[in-house]
């Protein structure tokens, strides 16, 4: 629970930084040098190694800068559930880069990639002794729709790979320290994201 609170605080802090930066002048015609902020909701789906459907929601805050009219880079963080197991929920922290096509149009496709680390956590008790997150990468392709000013809506879709590890009791009633199963996962998910850029 404490971890959740910390993550929420982190997100709020991120949002605060984003809002404080929103006061900088944006150039209408040339994006280069301007900042962007993005709030997104995500939905991920895939199958566990034994073929069971795994799905979960997520929320993400991102802040970045347009390097040119078509290129932008930034950092993002949030919370994301890729399933219902302790090693399937993460607080990701990533760097991202996007290539924007047709930037002058109302509808503009883009591709985006991110790379970083997803932190995992476990609740007290249960059969899991520890869980650990791992590296993650993600590629998405999507489209933005311009609203007024610098506001945009976006939707994109892509692939996510997240690494994780878990250590759990072998027989739960046998508490021996030398009796456990260590698992290394590479989680793969389709990932849909809907966001608001401002």
């Amino acid at each position: 629970m404490a971890f959740f609170k910390q993550m929420i605080l982190l997100c709020l802090l991120n949002l605060g930084v984003s809002l404080s930066l929103s006061g900088q002048p944006n150039q209408e015609s040339a994006y280069s040098g301007s900042w962007y902020r993005r709030i997104s909701l995500t939905a991920a789906a895939g199958s566990s190694s034994n073929g069971i459907l795994k799905k979960g929601p997520g929320a993400e805050l991102a802040i970045g800068r347009h390097l040119s009219e078509k290129i932008q880079i930034g950092v993002a963080g949030g919370l994301e559930w890729l399933g219902n197991r302790p090693y399937q929920r993460f607080a990701p922290a990533v760097v991202e880069g996007a290539w924007l096509l047709r930037t002058g149009q109302r509808w503009s496709p883009y591709v985006l990639g991110s790379l970083g680390y997803g932190f995992a956590w476990k609740d007290a008790g249960g059969a899991y002794r520890s869980v650990r997150g791992g590296s993650r990468w993600n590629v998405q392709a999507g489209i933005t729709r311009k609203l007024g000013g610098h506001h945009q809506l976006l939707a994109d879709f892509g692939l996510l790979e997240q690494h994780a590890e878990a250590k759990r009791d072998n027989f739960w009633w046998w508490g021996g320290q030398d009796n456990y199963v260590h698992e290394s996962f590479r989680l793969h998910r389709w990932r849909l994201r809907l966001g608001w850029v401002f």
Binding site: A45, G46, S47, S48, S49, N50, G51, I52, L53, K54, R85, R106, W107, P109, G126, A127, Y128, G142, I143, R145, A155, F157, L159, R168, D169, N170, F171, W172, W174, G175, G176, Q177, D178, N179, Y180, V181, H182, E183, S184, F185, R186, L187, H188, R189, W190, L192
Partner: protein, 426 residues
């Protein structure tokens, strides 16, 4: 343009979600467990001639026992190192008595009693440099099993196994994966030890608080995991198995005090009366939280350390002081939080507690209600498991991972290191 793009996007999205099952996680799993392989010994090998070997370094120190100027150190299931400890600053290793399956010992009137798997042995210690086996009581201790070809099943040897297994992702927190033979370690052990405090003559030695083997008057009392055995020593050279008293599972330690036995179990402390020394009778039980619990009794007070741990199935770490003036109604006097207390010893008003990785602590126990607040000194640089505190000379003998370490506690606020008999791996 816009509508077609959105349509195509939605179509692609739908296709992808329909093919979600094609996108699988990958998983590698390693199962780690302790496998116990049975160890057998042929009767002829178990009962081969026992001789004193040349002095050897201690490799895995077990329990300790003090008899006069001699210090006995058990080499777990291998035998007994005998040290001349007249000068605790320079203990002299005088030999190694190789006894298969030995865990515990006690000495009375110059006779060393030691277990050897299922047998009880008696050695004459007239010359401690060359003990002589004078008697063997066969098959008096519980045996784990018998095989007509391989002989006695005497032990289970643990070995850590790591093996790749198919990844079977859990959907609940309860997971069943087989492999290995699962035997609780303590069931496999039939250990014995010794204690102090009985109305025994001065020729009785002193054992630690984690003892499973003790002496009182003309009798030797041993506890296994579930019963108490009584041996009649009225003929010291020919011990006789007199009786067996069933107590219940989880028995850990035995401690004599006056004409009573205090038996520590994982659920409580049993008090047995020795009105008939060959047939102890249970007087009362002081129940406590499920925990491992060595006991030491001094001046009508029982000091019990409770600790957590794998086999103790508990999350309590504390010292309990119990008034045992009325042995039929023991009364809890006070409880003091501890770190991870194991063995303990009391001399006068000084309470010595082995606090595992926090070392040895010495408390002023003159007021049982304030023990926790009256830490006199602490030796932090050792891991401490059990302790024997001697009244004269004022020496505390501590066992632990480092080996056997002796301290002078003439000034209990400042323990002085006298000597270290290191474990082989240190």
């Amino acid at each position: 343009m816009a509508k077609s793009t959105v349509f195509l996007f939605a179509l692609a999205l739908g296709m992808v979600f329909l093919t979600t099952s094609c996108l699988k996680d990958s998983c590698d799993a390693t199962q780690v467990y302790v496998r116990y392989d049975p160890k057998y010994i042929q009767p002829a090998a178990l009962r081969a001639k026992i001789v004193m070997d040349a002095p050897q370094a201690v490799t895995q120190a077990g329990k300790i026992y003090v008899y006069g100027q001699y210090l006995f150190i058990n080499e777990l299931k291998e035998g007994i190192h005998i040290y001349d400890n007249q000068n605790p600053a320079q203990p002299l290793n005088i030999g190694f008595l190789k006894i298969p399956g030995n865990v515990d010992m006690a000495v009375r009137n110059g006779i060393l009693y030691a277990d050897s798997y299922v047998d009880l042995l008696a050695f004459n210690l007239d010359n401690p440099a060359a003990p002589v086996l004078v008697n063997r009581l066969e098959n008096v201790f519980p045996q784990l099993g018998w095989d007509d070809v391989r002989g006695y099943l005497v032990d289970y040897i643990p070995s850590k196994v790591e093996e790749q297994i198919p990844c079977n992702e859990a959907e609940d927190d309860i997971v069943f994966i087989g492999g290995g033979i699962w035997v609780r370690r303590e069931i496999a052990l039939t250990t014995l030890s010794a204690g102090l405090g009985g109305k025994a003559p001065s020729t009785v030695g002193i054992g630690g608080s984690t003892a499973r083997f003790t002496l009182n008057e003309d009798n030797l009392y041993t506890v296994s995991d579930y019963d108490l055995k009584v041996f009649d020593l009225s003929n010291p050279l020919a011990p006789r198995h007199a009786s067996t008293v069933s107590i219940g599972w989880g028995i850990e330690t035995i401690f004599p005090y006056q004409d009573y036995l205090f038996i520590g179990s994982r659920t409580g402390m049993y008090i047995y009366g020795l009105k008939d020394p060959l047939h102890p009778v249970q007087l009362s039980v002081f129940q406590h939280a499920n925990a491992c619990d060595p006991v030491f009794v001094h001046n009508d007070k029982a000091y019990i350390t409770l600790r957590n741990g794998t086999t103790c199935e508990n999350f309590t770490n504390q010292l309990e002081v119990v008034d045992v003036q009325d042995l039929f109604k023991p009364v809890l006097l006070s409880v003091h939080p501890m770190h991870h207390p194991i063995g303990l010893s009391v001399v006068d008003d000084l309470l010595f507690i082995c606090e595992d990785d926090q070392g040895l602590k010495v408390f002023d126990a003159s007021d049982s209600g304030k023990i926790g607040d009256r830490l006199l000194s602490q030796v932090k640089e050792i891991q401490a498991t059990d302790v024997i505190a001697l009244e004269k000379p004022r020496v505390a003998i501590v066992t632990g991972e480092k080996g056997i370490v002796q301290y002078d506690f003439s000034d209990p606020t400042k323990l002085r290191l006298l000597s270290t008999i290191p474990n082989g791996n240190n």
